[in-house]
Symmetry: C2
Subunit: 437 residues, 2 copies
């Protein structure tokens, strides 16, 4: 980072961090969202059950959830990874409206095509509005207004924003939310060679995002559906409760969504004749080469270096954030609860004093204050609950490191440090505090 | 910060920053959003004109704007200040749905009260939905499900999320957006003494947020309107184009929204008889003591320490982010463009090579690479434009520090550093690069 005030000057709040909140710490007595021993009966998927039991999310109505503070912290960490990886490929964040006029949608034909999946509204003057299920029309419309010359291309933009799809089925819990958060990116290029580059760059960024979230995914050939376009890949994660089916050829390794006819008439791989294996999956991302379908319909054109008017060549790229969160839970848990991947854990440390003695509690309070000053991300279980309850909640919430203080440990000047799912060891509290502060 | 791997371990991406994007840098040739010499005629307010001219925002339909990358960067910096100040008072972020069932709204009576300001929708099965203009019902409903005991109180939660109000007039541009971003916080307390504490804490946090955005505001007595509740204060900023009118007593200093009858029959201060001064303003924030109106209607109750069922006592607190952005522009500009307050500037540095020589351009490219590696937040004007165009754009966009490289400066191994609106000075490039990297 820049080394001093010479360049940036000392702002009015120059002493303070200007990025993330400084005090990402929480006492469990103040945490909004309680843990539950049992998930509600309607939660069928393990990831959904864990989200409810650990207090990450709550259903408010059919297909509609509130993200509670612990779930929101995890979502913000996923977003930070997305911002980081997209900045690396030069993508710029913007934000387009959720409630949109039907005009551009009528021009692309999707006002009719989308059917009941799209909510339609009339405003006070009877004008036709809709709640956007995706944003290709808005981006093409913005490009039409903003871009006139080849000198303004290529452009690569994205947003992390709310979308709504009036899904028929809402049994899937967090997997099939009507209102959900999406990272949607859009590339604007002068030609298909530019689109090829953007498509590869965003695909690679998406794969790095999934890798940093420690989600094992598979890229599959897919059909473009109502989106249109020439080439498309879906990112799937395996889940017994998934609603998609992927076919993988045991011989050539080709993977496709079962909607795409990978099988020949005999039910073997259409490419090589190999045997096909089926797996249930959840789709968490999708990338499309759109071409000029949207720019043609909406009139998003630019003037080429040779002075010709040409349509902008578009690509569209999306990842569903709640589905990604669900996939993380599905892939990172044990019998006791969540085992958060380090980079997306809501907080890093779970501080637990146990027993009725005053010494453990005092040592925990002092340590909590130290950690707070040091800027650590810590959840402090300051409740008057039995040790069994506290330890079960620590396993259920599943933060990467548990710090345990008992009366015996406090008297010996020690603390037990246990990585979630790993082996505990006692270390000297003073030495540990020194390292932390 | 924590000093090493002992505590947090070395994650798979331990070497990388885990917070904000690392590469907050941009070449102007790739920036989505161009500057304009003149604002469109319909933009009447200076803040709105500057937002359009500097490429921060674009109108997409009546009352509906896209935030372009530079505007989005400023919005994210405002959000970071909000997260920071709210974390300091122990508030926890959550997220509730925008599209809501009408059920809770019918119980509080606001489904009827809100009238045409609220968009109403039917889903595919004919169920009544709405696009939420505010979230008291959702929070009370969540509290009803989540809170059962006094031990879970107090709670203080917030979200930064999209709202929609179908405003009749949309001439106000960014001031009167139909779809807008709001910081809305909600306090849940066991009694009015708790509400009083929360109300003061959030009010103080809001004032710190406005101070860090360097917005001069005034707190005014207001009427609760359709929100209900016992005590309420509005935060206003002066603007000739504002749609509110504040009255200030020249004698006792009391300030009130003109909707509140501050004047006695003779048009003088009802409190002290002093003369009243009127000013046009924009409301950017509002805090309410709601009491039990929403929890009574929705059944959000808790069991007290004495075992009695009692309604949760609520408060509601909001700041409009686009209005705050507009207020910043209104209060921080000169004849040439925006003069960003340091903590909300989209980027910190504007690097401008001028002239046709190769040396200035080469020095600028090298410096840009250094700044990029150092994690500086820099906009690099790499266009082939005349010096006058580039310098006019630098003033218009208004980042805090302009770095200018001419052929003469580059030959002398120097760079011109000019704070926006301040005095330029030439410094040695090598020394400056050393400080930056």
């Amino acid at each position: 980072m820049l080394s001093g005030g010479f360049l940036l000057g000392a702002g009015r709040h120059g002493q303070r961090s200007q990025g993330a909140p400084e005090e990402m710490t929480m006492r469990l007595t103040t945490l909004f969202g309680r843990t539950m021993r049992e998930a509600p009966a309607e939660a069928e998927q393990i990831g959904h059950q864990l989200a409810l039991r650990a207090g990450l999310a709550r259903q408010l109505q059919a297909g509609s959830f509130a993200l509670m503070p612990l779930g929101m912290l995890a979502l913000r960490r996923i977003e930070a990874i997305m911002h980081d990886e997209l900045a690396r490929i030069g993508a710029q964040e913007l934000r387009t409206p959720i409630i949109q006029s039907s005009d551009a949608w009528e021009r692309t034909g999707r006002y009719a095509d989308y059917g009941p999946l799209m909510l339609r509204v009339a405003d006070r003057s009877g004008r036709r509005l809709l709640v956007a299920p995706t944003h290709e029309e808005a981006i093409a419309d913005l490009a039409r207004r903003e871009i006139s010359s080849y000198r303004q291309l290529p452009a690569l933009v994205y947003q992390i924003h709310t979308k709504y799809r009036d899904e028929l089925r809402t049994k899937g819990g967090l997997m099939r939310m009507r209102e959900f958060t999406m990272l949607d990116a859009y590339s604007l290029d002068a030609d298909t060679a530019g689109l090829d580059l953007a498509y590869r760059a965003v695909g690679a960024a998406f794969e790095r995002i999934l890798a940093r979230c420690e989600v094992r995914s598979v890229a599959a050939e897919a059909s473009a559906g109502e989106m249109g376009g020439s080439e498309t890949v879906e990112y799937h994660v395996r889940s017994a409760a998934g609603e998609d089916q992927l076919l993988t050829c045991a011989a050539c390794g080709h993977v496709a969504n079962a909607e795409v006819s990978l099988a020949d008439a005999g039910g073997r791989c259409a490419r090589c004749g190999g045997a096909l294996l089926a797996a249930q999956t959840i789709e968490i991302g999708h990338i499309f080469k759109l071409g000029t379908r949207y720019s043609d319909a909406i009139g998003a054109r630019y003037q080429s270096a040779a002075g010709r008017e040409q349509p902008i060549v578009m690509g569209s790229y999306g990842i569903g954030l709640e589905r990604l969160l669900l996939a993380i839970l599905e892939q990172h848990h044990d019998g006791a609860g969540i085992v958060w991947p380090r980079e997306v854990a809501p907080l890093d440390l779970h501080l637990v004093p146990v027993g009725r003695g005053a010494r453990a509690r005092q040592a925990a309070e002092a340590l909590y204050e130290d950690l707070l000053r040091a800027g650590a991300r810590v959840l402090y279980d300051d409740r008057d609950e039995a040790a069994g309850v506290k330890l079960a909640d620590a396993d259920l919430i599943g933060l990467p490191t548990r710090l345990l203080l008992s009366e015996r440990l406090a008297e010996a000047g020690q603390i037990e440090v246990r990585p979630r799912g790993g082996v505990a060891r006692d270390v000297e509290l003073e030495r540990w505090r020194g390292a932390a502060v």
